[in-house]
């Protein structure tokens, strides 16, 4: 049946829907009614049979009362008019069969020999009823009726026929109505579908569907038309864009062909370049290999140099050690010489003539010079041998400076040289090696006195050149600017040493002496060097003092240098000491 296949059109769907619903309702109603009717009809059958049994039983009262079975049998015979009663019986009050009735055609139905309890039973094909017969509250007996169910079955058959007829008629009617009425719903949709198909086939977006009502379908059609309108506009826009794009595409193609040509040229150029790069790379590799060889050779040389340097240093140290030992060995006999010489000069052992005294004085002076020389050599060699160590301790700076001046006071006085001091704003206590600091000061002061003519001036100045915590920059700039003037070179290492100190003092010793030439400003700090070799004869000195001072200042982490404006202009010796106030 095509009914149960998926129908194709909305029309047949609507018809099927209508038919399905109406027929379902009809069939449900019919079945309900048949069931209801069957139940009520059975009840009616029972009632009818009860009434019949009452009538027949009542008519048998006298027969029972007066023991007249024949009369009862006659009464039962009246049942022959009732075709559905197949058998009947009357029992007396001792439950014995009193009278019986059978429809002639019926033999199969056996009659019960005794009555059952009052009531009815629907058997397979029959309704069986037992009912007592009373006369004035006394039970006379029981009547039994056996009815067949042909009427019930016939009724069912009739009903089914009617239902079949009804359904046929109703189906036809419903189909007819549905075919008409479905158009209300399907026609606009079919129209819409038709329009949509037309638009789709012709690709003509100017077509519109007709809207015929304000229901949802009408709304749908309006929306559809709106949408088609939008598509139409977009289609136009799209076409325009497409045209533009085609134009651009063409342009691009032209550009592309040009670019392809350019790329080919480029590729050629690149290939050339690559071959050149390969050549260069080969050259470079070769150069690199040469370089590597050279580096290896250089490294080898550096290693050799390092070894040579180590050997030289070892030799130097050996020399220093030798010098230290020698100085010590030399000092002992020299002290004897000086000691005994002084004893003789004190004239405790007899007078001396002037010539003797003069010669002995020469001996003493030379011996003292030799001792000083040896002492300096000893110190210097200690420094070079790395044996000199700082013995840092807290000390009073002012008293140290003053005591240094006392040491040279006598000599200054002798040559009428003025000693000036500028000792303002000094830290009270500093930490330094007192003995070495004293020695430095003594060296510088005695140098100044030595090279200053009579009546000159020697000035000792000491100030805190910078409190590192307050204005280190100024202080450093001062040094650096001086370095840039080539008056003194301050290496970055030296600056760092100063900078790392919490504070520093600068001590300057200036004189109005012979001065220094610029070329000698550094040389004088070398061992056994004086500005003028001839001067040593005139001015005495070991030539080791400045060198030692330099070593000791540097040991403190400080810096020493000299300044002079030239010959006869005097000179200034500065040294900076980083001091640890704590």
């Amino acid at each position: 049946m095509s009914f149960f296949q998926q129908p194709q059109s909305i029309r047949s769907k609507l018809i099927l829907l209508t038919l399905g619903i109406s027929l379902s309702a009809l069939i449900f109603t019919c079945i309900s009614y048949i069931i209801y009717d069957r139940i009520t009809f059975k009840q009616k059958m029972v009632r009818d049979l009860e009434t019949l049994s009452d009538i027949i039983g009542g008519n048998c009262e006298a027969a029972l009362a007066f023991y007249d079975p024949d009369s009862a049998a006659k009464t039962l015979e009246t049942l022959r008019a009732e075709k559905h009663i197949l058998a009947a019986a009357v029992f007396n009050n001792t439950n014995q069969r009193f009278a019986v009735y059978r429809q002639k055609t019926e033999r199969q139905n056996p009659l019960p020999s005794t009555p059952s309890k009052s009531g009815y039973v629907f058997q397979d094909r029959a309704l069986v009823l037992f009912r007592p017969i009373y006369l004035e509250n006394e039970k006379l007996g029981t009547i039994y009726l056996h009815s067949d169910l042909t009427e019930l079955d016939a009724r069912l058959t009739r009903f089914l026929l009617i239902v079949a007829l009804l359904i046929s008629v109703a189906s036809l009617g419903a189909y007819f109505l549905a075919s008409r009425l479905q158009k209300m719903v399907s026609a606009p949709i079919l129209h819409l579908s038709e329009v949509a198909r037309e638009i789709s086939e012709k690709q003509d977006f100017s077509i519109r569907a007709e809207s015929r009502g304000g229901d949802e379908t009408g709304f749908l059609i309006e929306r559809f038309n709106d949408m088609v309108g939008q598509i139409e506009e977009r289609d136009k826009a799209l076409r325009m864009t497409q045209n533009e794009l085609e134009l651009k595409y063409f342009q691009l193609e032209v550009q592309l062909s040009e670019r392809t040509k350019a790329e080919e040229a480029l590729k050629q150029a690149r290939d050339e370049l690559e071959s050149r790069v390969v050549e260069r790379t080969a050259d470079l590799a070769k150069a690199n290999a040469d370089l590597t060889n050279e580096v290896a050779e250089r490294e080898k040389t550096a290693l050799e140099l390092e070894r040579a340097k180590e050997a030289a240093e070892a030799a130097n140290q050996a020399k220093s050690e030798f010098l230290a030992n020698m100085s010590h060995e030399l000092r002992t006999p020299l002290n004897h010489i000086i000691g005994f010489n002084e004893l003789v000069l004190d004239k405790n052992y007899g007078d001396l003539n002037p010539t003797q005294e003069e010669f002995l004085n020469d001996v003493l002076q030379s011996s003292r010079h030799l001792l000083a020389l040896i002492n300096d050599i000893l110190d210097l060699s200690k420094v070079e041998a790395g044996k000199m160590e700082l013995e840092v301790s807290p000390l009073y700076l002012r008293s140290l400076l003053e005591s240094s001046l006392i040491m040279v006071k006598e000599k200054a006085h002798k040559h009428q040289i003025k000693l000036l001091t500028f000792l303002e704003g000094l830290p009270e206590m500093i930490r330094a090696d007192e003995r070495k600091l004293k020695q430095i000061l003594y060296n510088l002061l005695s140098n100044a006195l030595k090279f200053t003519p009579d009546g000159g001036t020697v000035r000792l100045e000491c100030k805190t050149i910078a409190d590192c915590g307050e204005k280190p920059q100024t202080w450093l700039e001062e040094i650096e600017s001086r370095g840039s003037n080539d008056e003194i070179r301050v290496t970055s290492d030296e600056i760092r040493d100063i900078r790392n100190s919490p504070s520093a003092i600068r001590i300057s010793v200036s004189d109005t002496g012979i001065g220094l030439e610029e070329k000698d400003l550094e040389r004088i700090f070398e061992p056994f060097e004086q500005a003028d070799n001839s001067a040593s004869r005139k001015f005495q000195g070991t030539g080791l003092g400045l060198s030692l001072s330099k070593q000791m200042v540097e040991l403190h982490g400080g810096r020493i240098w000299a300044e002079s404006k030239g010959q006869g202009q005097g000179s200034v010796f500065h040294f900076i000491l980083p001091v640890d106030r704590n």
């Binding site: 006298a62 027969a63 009362a65 007066f66 023991y67 007249d68 009050n93 001792t94 014995q96 004035e136």
Partner: protein, 171 residues
């Protein structure tokens, strides 16, 4: 009820126990009262008893006495034995014994307007103008009804009773 059940048994229904003819006849008397209607003025009130009088020699034995305990249509049965047909105002059923056979004609004439059911087991009682005559046909008790006598009285016999009865007309 059980006694009545036995009373109403047909002859020979219980094997080995003889049912007396008197028992059956007594049951018939009782059942007649049920199938017959008396005019209302023959009772003094709704609850007045039903009078069952036995005229003449009583040879019922004890079997008639059971009826004294019975009710018919809500009325008690009053059993009386009389020798003359007198004071019959409260009599509704008059059983005339066979001993009154010779006085039967005068008795029936006397009872003519009294609306009393007359019953007897004498021979040809109905034929002689009695209402119900009990007869024995081949050992089976039956009864005859003189329909004309019945119709002339105001008693109403039920159709069923008449259907069971043998109808006699004055001939």
């Amino acid at each position: 009820m059980t006694f009545l059940g036995i009373l109403l048994l047909p002859a020979g229904s219980i094997p080995g126990e003889e049912i007396r003819e008197e028992q059956i006849k007594a049951a018939f008397l009782y059942n007649f009262a049920k199938f017959i209607e008396w005019p209302t003025d023959s009772f003094k009130s709704e609850s007045s008893p039903l009078g069952l009088y036995i005229l003449g020699t009583d040879h019922w034995g004890p079997y008639i006495d059971v009826l004294k305990e019975k009710n018919v249509k809500g009325r008690k049965i009053v059993l009386r034995r009389i020798s003359r047909p007198e004071n019959l105002e409260e009599c509704h059923i008059l059983f005339i014994s066979a001993s009154e056979r010779n006085n039967l004609r005068s008795h029936l004439a006397l009872l003519k307007n009294h609306n009393i059911l007359t019953v007897s087991d004498m021979e040809r009682f109905a034929h002689q103008g009695g209402m119900i005559g009990l007869i024995n046909i081949e050992g089976k008790i039956n009864f005859e009804v003189n329909i004309e006598t019945v119709y002339s009285s105001r008693l109403k016999f039920s159709a069923q009773l008449l259907k069971v009865a043998r109808i006699i007309r004055n001939g």
